[in-house]
């Protein structure tokens, strides 16, 4: 079952098209998954892996990045990965045909919302078990889905965060170290002065002693 499909531009995470959810059962949760998807789009960049499966609670996100557009769908875990990626590939070829050139020019969100019509149709085809069997033949030549990376959505979303936490910690550390260094310097000078002073006093007493006792 494909619950949610979203397309976004990778460079800035701008949503381009989406399919409306039609499942009463998940109506409520989908809201949350949508926000997760939106966050994910913001995190993605050119360095992200092309194909990836993200586990999010009971459901899985599958995404595919091609030609600067990220195709993302939300499926039940039981839904075969192979079919999911086949579906995303299908979306990609159709979308690229229809709108590929205009992707970089649009500024408003969901500029290609009309693509929804195609998404709906494709979804129906891939979800339907009987039709899927026929598709299976086509999809056999798809690359080995086993090699597609699996990660957890929370990790992906929070990876950046952890790094930034680490970063702030490190910078804290370095500033503390600097402070320590300057403090140490100051202490050093102070102790040096103290030593000099002690020596001077000893010498002075010695001189006085020599002067008044010896002479």
């Amino acid at each position: 079952m494909i619950l949610l499909t979203m397309l976004a531009r990778v460079s800035d995470g701008l949503p381009l098209a989406a399919s409306i959810q039609e499942n009463e059962q998940y109506e409520r949760d989908l809201q949350q998954y949508q926000t997760q998807a939106k966050q994910l789009f913001r995190r993605l960049n050119a360095q992200s892996p092309d194909r990836c499966t993200l586990e999010a609670g009971n459901l899985n996100f599958h995404y595919l990045i091609a030609e600067g557009v990220c195709y993302l769908c939300l499926c039940e875990p039981s839904f075969p990965k192979k079919v999911a990626f086949g579906y995303l590939d299908d979306l990609h070829s159709e979308f690229f045909d229809q709108y590929g050139r205009r992707v970089s020019t649009v500024t408003r969100p969901y500029a290609f919302i009309e693509f929804d019509n195609y998404i709906q149709k494709a979804k129906k085809m891939y979800v339907d078990g009987r039709a899927r069997r026929n598709l299976g033949n086509i999809n056999t030549e798809l690359q080995d889905v086993q090699r597609i990376m699996v990660a957890n959505i929370e990790e992906v979303l929070h990876r950046g965060e952890a790094l930034s936490v680490l970063d702030t910690k490190a910078s804290n550390l370095s500033s503390l170290a600097k402070k320590y260094q300057s403090d140490a310097k100051y202490l050093n000078t102070r102790s040096t002065y103290a030593k000099f002073a002690a020596v001077a006093v000893v010498l002075l007493t010695l001189i006085i002693y020599v002067r008044f006792w010896w002479l």
Binding site: A18, E22, R42, P109, Y110, I113, D116, N117
Partner: protein, 1113 residues
């Protein structure tokens, strides 16, 4: 007495005295009015001072027990020293004495601590939005606003999002605050209510304790403490909660859904909705639970709170005290004039802002007193427009069009007390989604909004410098984002004040994805059609199908547009229109008690893909049911099915219905007894018989489904119950009484015209609208079709360009901060093309301090329309007669108030300022309107429909319904004609609606908004008959003639040009009826002549006499 004394001191001790005015006030308010207004007059209001005292001493204790009786009530003398005494102290000790008097009341504990030195600078600070630290410095020992001010604190929760910030300015001027006066002065109506309130209090208390912990800041705490003496809105919300909470148990699911979209609106700042709501708007957070079921339709807060008051008390004015002599005295002599004179610095400010210095000519004209008993020609030669607000030229130029945004008072009174004194309601009439010719659309990544109140940037903000702007609603200073520095129109950098947002008061933004909770929904239309025997007999189906077939391509939408059909009699029929089928497939569900959807996929189909099937269905539908014998109608189950079909997407449901629903849930009984119609005492059954439709509508609203109702029936169909389905789901209602395709061609024509407009007009989906106003003003009642989600947030499943709404407001807090008051309505919607857009309208009006200025700026049409809305609420809640009395009293009050305050002419008779000269006439017309008239001739459904119209029609339309325009057509000439493009539109003079203005030898046109009547006199000139109507003589005029033949004569051309001009740009179709003098239809024409006496009312002159009698009583 004290008033002149004050002002003279204020002016003589200059320089440092700047601070005094604000300090005098407490003396004025605490001191002067109470001794006058309290003694004896109103036993209830005597509970006020203790309340005050109580809250001062132990502000905390209020949380637990708002109504604790005072343990140590101060002797009245202690807190009300005679003002004169105080004034003399003042002269001797200018520094300390102002505090001396209140100090005795406040028991010094709060005032002794801060050194007096701190006080003088205080008032000087307040224009500069002082920082919290500043405030703390000024009154170190005063714990927040509570010390001074229970009065201050409804605002801190209502007005601004940031209690911390606000506390500073409030502090400074809270001594001067009218709310103190307001509570003292308004004491009466509110405390009359207090008996009621005590019962509501329990609700509000529960509420308060329930959500104090949940809310993030202090605002909720300040709501709770003093229900006893807060101003009206507070108690009203309590009231709403109390009354509608229990009756609305199923509301919670929908409202929790609502919550999300609201975030949606507020989301702009951050991504995660929950956190951003918290920071962006703590205000409505805290109000959400309070306002729970604020259904404007069913409740008139004021009237509920004061059912046992005199007619005028209960009359819906916001917190308007009864015009009993005592309070009037109270503020006439001691309370009021002073503030106006005692703000020298502010008048300077306003002078600096321009447009307010001196009294312009316009005002003089508007203020000219007119004796209505002598003046017989009141009507202007052309239909009246909106009065222009008294603003500087630049502001006028950018201000919002009055057709979109209109305020009843174009000069906003500075305080509630002044408003009360004017005896005019304060409110807005909005037509937010109007079809516009010119609308700047702005696409930018960041939509610039105030960080604290989320106001959109508008032409009335001030730019402090290049990088900062000051919000005109909450006065917060915000940064100008970098993107905003670039002006896309002129392509120049560094001109933020030239951006289109700042140049136009009506703009539309393309919203970013932050404003979307889900991808924009497609345009989805579902048609629910009645196909029972009755419907087939009436014959609407054929015309509907034809009309839809014709307009199928012009339904607003894009490639995603989806349509569906559903028909019902005693069973429900679905139609499978799956692309690829050879013909539509009908699926019948006969289990109407538990409706289910037979197939999930193919019932709502893409119009683009299944167009052929849809066309086939439409052409076969009429014949399919031609021979049906099923007379029963299962409307309720059909609506449930429609709801289930639409739930996933939302959209528009159009219901066509012809009789009383008789089967399944939502069935109705006939409630109208024709014999009862004649009883002038009570008109019953104005409210719904069952809450089934309301519940359904609320569910629909939650799923973004709007339900529009077309009722085409010949018998009683209980519109008052059925209309609920549209009322709460932001739909519209159309009613065609005694519709029949053969016997009633005029209704058929109207139906066709309306339907065409309905199918092709613009539509917005999943909309929310928020109305914000300048700090100090607050909105308390909404009128219109929508669901009110929080104090200022309306949720509209659908918006259409033909419906308007009205809003009642009150002044919570003196508007002394600024000389301008602003209102902003922001409508966030999804267009039929799947674009999320925000349409923002901003209106700016001057604030005035003089009563005469308030009258000069009164907009009589807007006042009438707002009053009509209030009267309709009133008639549903407490009866028609009550509402009628309230309307008459509105006139009586105004005349009385004007006589006692502004006009110093000692002339007898009925004197009103020129700006309001039409008021009695309009009210009389209102009393004779279908919605509010008495007598036998009004059928219940027609009455209810008229009420629905009043709630949703835009103002010009409403006014024509109320007081039609009468023109004489046979003498029409090109004199003073309008030249539009290449046509010349003659402009005949407007005539009074009285039979004496008619004559047998003329032809008169009556423009009633939704219909035009042309009455042809018996001895009308042959030339007119021949040249315009194309008949030889009067007798040969056909009895029902609906068109003017296109004749090639100059007279005919003129008449047609004029008629076309009138019919242009009207939302509803406007058929013409030509009425022969001897025809039966004559009565429908003559019933619109409201100045003559009729079965349901007095003539205009008698009405004036009646008013005069009541005034002098």
């Amino acid at each position: 007495m004290s008033a002149p004394g004050y002002s003279s001191v204020g002016s003589s001790v200059n320089g440092s005295t700047q601070s005094y005015p604000s300090m005098y006030q407490p003396a004025g308010y605490y001191g002067a009015p109470p001794p006058q207004s309290y003694p004896g007059k109103t036993p209830l209001s005597s509970s006020q001072p203790p309340h005050y005292h109580n809250s001062h001493i132990s502000p905390q204790s209020h949380h637990g027990a708002p109504s604790t009786p005072p343990s140590t009530a101060p002797p009245p003398q202690a807190y009300a020293p005679p003002p004169s005494v105080q004034y003399s102290q003042q002269v001797l000790q200018p520094q300390h004495s102002p505090y001396g008097a209140p100090g005795s009341y406040y028991e010094h504990q709060s005032y002794s601590a801060p050194p007096p030195v701190h006080h003088p600078p205080a008032p000087q600070q307040y224009p500069l939005t002082p920082s919290p630290a500043n405030a703390a410095g000024t009154y170190p020992s005063a714990p927040g606003g509570t010390q001074y001010g229970p009065p201050a604190h409804p605002q801190s929760s209502l007005g601004g999002g940031l209690p911390v910030q606000m506390s500073a300015p409030l502090h400074q001027y809270s001594p001067a605050q009218p709310p103190c006066g307001q509570t003292a002065l308004n004491g009466q109506p509110q405390s009359t209510a207090s008996s009621q309130q005590s019962s509501y209090e329990s609700y509000s208390r529960v509420d308060g304790s329930g959500h104090t912990p949940s809310s993030t800041g202090t605002p909720s705490a300040s709501i709770v403490p003093s229900p006893g003496h807060h101003s009206a809105p507070q108690s009203q919300y309590g009231g709403y909660e109390g009354t509608s909470g229990p009756s609305e148990p199923e509301q919670s699911p929908s409202s929790s859904d609502d919550e999300d979209l609201e975030d949606d609106d507020e989301e702009a700042g951050g991504d995660t909705s929950s956190s951003s709501t918290g920071t962006a708007s703590p205000v409505h957070n805290s109000f959400d639970s309070l306002e729970g079921g604020n259904y404007p339709e069913t409740q008139t807060p004021c009237s509920e709170l004061t059912p046992h008051g005199q007619p005028y008390t209960g009359y819906g004015f916001p917190g308007m005290p009864p015009p009993s002599s005592a309070p009037q005295h109270g503020y006439n002599h001691s309370g009021y004039p002073q503030p106006s004179q005692s703000f020298p610095s502010l008048s300077q400010l306003s002078a600096a802002l321009g447009g307010l210095s001196g009294i312009p000519e316009l005002e003089v004209e508007a203020l000219q007193p007119i004796n209505l008993l002598q003046e017989r020609n009141l009507l202007p030669p052309r239909p009246l427009g909106a009065p222009e607000p008294n603003l500087s030229q630049e502001l006028k130029k950018v201000n919002c069009s009055p057709e979109t945004f209109r305020c009843t008072l174009t000069s906003i009174p500075q305080t509630q007390a002044l408003l009360n004194k004017a005896r005019l309601p304060l409110g807005l009439l909005l037509h937010p989604f109007r079809d516009l010719q010119h609308l700047p659309v702005i696409t930018s990544n960041t939509i610039v909004r105030c960080r604290s109140c989320r106001t959109y940037i508008n032409p009335f903000v001030t730019f402090l410098d290049q990088r900062r702007w000051k919000c005109n609603l909450c006065y917060r200073i915000n940064d100008v984002p970098d993107e905003f520095m670039y002006n896309p129109v002129t392509r120049a950098y560094g001109e933020p004040h030239r951006r289109p947002e700042v140049q136009n008061s009506t703009v539309e933004f393309i919203a970013s994805s932050d404003y979307m909770l889900r991808p924009p929904q497609p345009a989805v239309y579902l048609f629910v059609l009645d196909v029972s025997h009755n419907a087939v007999e009436a014959g609407y189906l054929k015309y509907f199908c034809d009309c839809l077939l014709e307009n199928l391509h012009s339904l607003p939408g894009d490639a995603r547009t989806r349509v569906g059909f559903l028909t019902f009699d005693s069973t429900i029929h679905f139609y499978n229109l799956q692309d690829g089928l050879s013909q539509p497939q009908m699926l019948v569900v006969s289990d109407i008690d538990d409706v289910f959807i037979p197939s999930h996929d193919n019932l709502m189909v893409s119009l683009k893909e299944s167009k052929e099937l849809v066309k086939e269905l439409l052409s076969s539908l009429p014949s399919m049911f031609a021979h049906t014998r099923e007379t029963r109608s299962a409307l309720g189950p059909a609506l449930q099915a429609a709801f289930k079909l639409m739930t996933p997407t939302g959209g528009r449901v159009s219901v066509f219905h012809t009789q009383l629903p008789t089967l399944g849930p939502g069935l109705l009984q006939s409630r109208e007894d024709p014999n009862q119609r004649s009883s002038t005492k009570v008109v019953q059954h104005l409210g719904p018989a069952t809450d089934f439709y309301k519940k359904l509508a609320l569910d629909c609203s939650g799923q973004q489904i709007g339900v529009d109702l077309f009722l085409l029936s010949s018998q009683y169909s209980d519109l008052s119950s059925l209309a609920c389905m549209s009322k709460y789901s932001a739909g519209s209602v159309y009613y065609y009484p005694s519709f029949h395709h053969i016997h009633n061609p005029s209704q058929l024509e109207k139906f066709q015209g309306d339907l065409e407009r309905y199918l092709t007009r613009k539509i917005g989906f999943e909309a929310v609208m928020r109305i914000r106003c300048t700090k100090g003003l607050s909105i308390h009642t909404f009128h219109g079709n929508f669901f009110v989600r929080s104090t200022d947030l309306l949720s509209l499943a659908n918006v259409n360009p033909d419906s308007a709404l009205a809003v009642q407001m009150s002044i919570e807090d003196s508007l002394a901060d600024s000389s301008l008051a602003c209102f902003q309505a922001a409508l966030l919607y999804t267009s039929s093309k799947g674009k999320r857009r925000i349409r923002v309208h901003t209106l700016c009006l001057p604030v005035v301090t003089q009563l005469s200025e308030v009258y000069a700026g009164a907009d009589v049409q807007a006042v009438t329309c707002l009053l009509a809305n209030m009267a309709i609420d009133r008639s549903v809640s407490s009866g028609l007669l009550d509402a009628r009395d309230a309307l008459v009293n509105a006139v009586v009050d105004l005349v009385g108030a004007y006589r006692s305050s502004v006009s110093n002419l000692q002339q007898s008779g009925l004197v009103l300022p020129s700006s309001m000269r039409l008021f009695p006439l309009y009210i009389l017309a209102l009393l004779k309107q279908k919605a509010l008239r008495t007598g036998t001739s009004t059928r219940l459904d027609e009455r209810v429909f008229a009420m629905c119209q009043f709630k949703t029609e835009p103002l010009p339309q409403l006014l024509r319904m109320l007081h039609p325009d009468l023109y004489r057509l046979d003498t029409i000439s090109d004199q003073g004609a309008l030249h539009l493009n290449d046509t010349i539109v003659p402009q005949p003079l407007l005539l009074h609606l009285s039979a004496e203005r008619l004559s047998r030898d003329g032809a008169f046109l009556l423009d009633c908004g939704s219909v035009l009547y042309l009455w042809v006199g018996r001895s009308c000139s042959d030339m007119f008959l021949r040249d315009v109507l194309g008949v030889s003589d009067h007798a040969s005029l056909p009895p029902s003639m609906n068109h003017i033949p296109e004749l090639d004569t100059p007279l005919s051309e003129r008449v047609r040009a004029f008629l076309d001009w009138l019919q242009e740009n009207r939302s509803s179709s406007c058929p013409l009826h030509i009425i022969r003098d001897d025809a039966l239809a004559k009565t429908t024409f003559f019933q619109h002549l409201v100045e003559d006496s009729s079965e349901s009312g007095l003539s205009y002159y008698d009405f004036l006499q009646q008013v005069l009698q009541q005034v002098s009583k």
